[in-house]
């Protein structure tokens, strides 16, 4: 019997010829990540409780200062300091200081640190993002990360794999975000609980790497262990000039076993949102159009890479943010911000009346720079909208793609982007 990509990567990590779903394995980790909320506890557990003095391989660890940094208060400054000191003491090679990195899940791919065929763990639930680059990547806790730091290996239960096949192509205006929100709406927030989501099909061949990262990013919103995609020309081109190590792509065997295969016609997927208060609360845009907004947030590891900002800027160009609404735009990395500056996007944002911030997780997790108050309504390009995620438990958050967010900021209500812009310019769509 053949194996899926996920099974092959776990088998290699465990030093075995094959594994089956349900097997518990001890596997070697190729790359690990932590940030300002998860490094302080991981460092403390590793040194004070596990008694380890150094980490297994400082060249295979990245640390970002992204969640509550630049420090939002004195306590966050302490977490930032502990993160900085641990990274320095351990000689971590890929440490990204405030102003030089940004959100972990954008920083690692753009620096070519997470590669095809690899086993990657991150002490953050959205670490599943990296799977678009044909690797096994999953979110872990701080004790897990301490174990990886001490030993270079970790226990895993080999997941069953669910296969998602997307036939045909996405329609005009419909983005990868709409597709993944639709899929989560179909299967639910626990629809892939502890399982692998393997995405494949024609629709994926026509979307770029950043759009693919948006899809694997949200695997956790269906409860999945990981999201993974095939290696193709798009993957190879993205990694050319970026990859920091040699890599070996992996593919699923033709006779690999799937727990279930879901087939979707991508052409039939409509522009949509997730309504409050759950990412699986999918609704076609037409059903919520006109909903009045207090805040629009374009940011996060889900939808604030350069292609996302280009689409937002194309919609906002020449327009103003509606009175009574605030638009907050947070690039997902420093490199994204530099590129946005080069392309003149920041000027468009500022002229529209948007607040442009430094790269940080910020408002997405109700941290800072855009926390919602009681009863406020927000349209956000982020990944989850459970009660209290972006601030007050009674704030209402809708999730959408960046073009919808930008158009809605211009009108002040949830709006289809074609009402603000006739057609997405070629090369941006």
């Amino acid at each position: 019997m053949g194996m899926t990509m996920t099974e092959k990567i776990l088998a290699r990590g465990a030093g075995r010829d094959s594994v089956r779903p349900g097997d518990l394995v001890l596997a070697k980790v190729d790359f690990a990540m932590g940030h300002d909320l998860t490094i302080p506890p991981a460092g403390k557990i590793m040194r004070e409780q596990m008694g380890a003095e150094k980490i297994w391989d400082p060249e295979r660890v990245a640390v970002t200062q992204d969640h509550f940094q630049p420090a939002k208060d004195a306590a966050s400054a302490t977490l930032g300091r502990l993160t900085r000191e641990f990274s320095r003491d351990m000689g971590i090679k890929w440490y990204f200081e405030v102003g030089q990195g940004g959100i972990c899940h954008t920083v690692l791919p753009e620096n070519g640190l997470v590669l095809p065929g690899e086993l990657v763990v991150g002490a953050d639930s959205h670490s599943c993002t990296y799977g678009a680059l044909n690797n096994f990547a999953t979110g872990i806790g701080s004790t897990d990360l301490a174990c990886v730091f001490a030993l270079g290996e970790l226990w895993f239960r080999v997941p069953e794999t669910l296969k998602f096949v997307y036939h045909n192509r996405l329609k005009e205006w419909v983005e990868a975000k709409d597709l993944i929100l639709y899929v989560i709406g179909q299967i639910g927030v626990d629809g892939a609980r502890s399982k692998a989501m393997e995405h494949t099909g024609e629709a994926l061949r026509h979307i770029d790497m950043e759009a693919r990262l948006t899809m694997t990013n949200m695997a956790i919103e269906a409860g999945a262990k990981n999201g993974i995609m095939e290696f193709d020309e798009v993957t190879r081109q993205y990694l050319d000039g970026r990859a920091k190590r040699a890599y070996t792509p992996v593919s699923s065997d033709p006779d690999a076993e799937y727990e279930k295969v879901f087939e979707f016609d991508a052409e039939k997927v409509e522009l949509g949102v997730a309504r409050p208060m759950s990412p699986d609360n999918y609704s076609p845009l037409s059903e919520v159009a006109g909903t009045k907004l207090d805040q629009v947030f374009i940011g996060s590891c889900t939808n604030s890479r350069i292609t996302d900002l280009r689409r937002a800027a194309a919609v906002l160009d020449g327009h103003k943010v509606a009175p009574g609404v605030r638009l907050i735009i947070t690039p997902s990395s420093h490199q994204v911000a530099i590129q946005a500056e080069k392309e003149g996007l920041i000027g468009i944002f500022l002229a529209s009346g948007a607040a442009w911030t430094t790269a940080t997780c910020g408002a997405c997790l109700g941290g800072h720079m855009g926390v919602l108050g009681e009863g406020e309504v927000c349209l956000s390009t982020t990944n989850r909208n459970f009660p209290g995620r972006m601030g007050h438990p009674k704030a209402l958050v809708y999730l959408s793609n960046p073009a919808v967010a930008a158009a809605s900021a211009v009108t002040g209500v949830i709006t289809h982007p074609k009402e603000v812009l006739n057609k997405m310019p070629a090369g941006i769509a």
């Binding site: 518990l24 596990m50 639930s125 806790g141 897990d144 030993l151 409860g223 209290g388």
Partner: protein
């Protein structure tokens, strides 16, 4: 720290898909290294449960629906629940990172759809952790829980991943010394 054989306590009932932002809102992540402070805010994000932890007696039991602990990877979710005084969590099912984190901490959790269905808030429970049996004294019922894979059970009973890593580090050091 090894697990007690029997836990007795009063049940606190929660629904399905309770995510980590409800278990411990992200703003309290600044207290990542302070279990007691986290405990004061446990479950505070669940609408209508503000101030919940003040009513918890040490040793009480939290009973929840399916997919408990979905959302973030933050380990402070089970830490906050433990900090509030909850001795054991029983759920219909768990989101995977919460599940890992609890096992890694050596914090007892049980998966029991029967208990999640049958238990009401305030019921007096006695849980035999070795047998995986939940007795409901208030209702006179008994519920079974699902057995965990052997390795996870071992981790849980030895006190979590910390002692396990210590043991492996010692083994490695011994091998390194023997090789000179």
């Amino acid at each position: 720290m090894t697990l007690p054989k029997v836990i007795r306590g009063r049940a606190w009932k929660f629904g399905a898909n309770i995510d980590t932002d409800q278990i411990i809102p992200a703003k309290y992540a600044i207290y990542s290294l302070d279990e007691k402070e986290l405990g004061k805010h446990a479950m505070e994000g669940v609408p209508g449960k503000e101030g919940w932890s003040a009513g918890v007696a040490q040793g009480d039991i939290l009973v929840a629906g399916s997919n408990f602990g979905c959302g973030s990877s933050r380990e402070i979710a089970p830490v906050a629940i433990r900090g509030a005084g909850i001795a054991l969590v029983i759920a219909d099912s768990y989101a995977r990172i919460f599940f890992r984190n609890a096992i890694n901490m050596g914090y007892p959790i049980l998966q029991s759809p029967q208990a999640a269905e049958g238990v009401d808030e305030g019921d007096e429970l006695e849980v035999d952790l070795e047998e995986g049996i939940v007795r409901n004294f208030t209702k006179g019922d008994e519920y079974r829980s699902e057995a965990f894979p052997k390795f996870m059970n071992e981790l849980l009973h030895m006190g979590g991943l910390v002692p396990w890593v210590r043991k492996r580090l010692e083994e490695r050091r011994r091998v390194a010394t023997a090789r000179g």
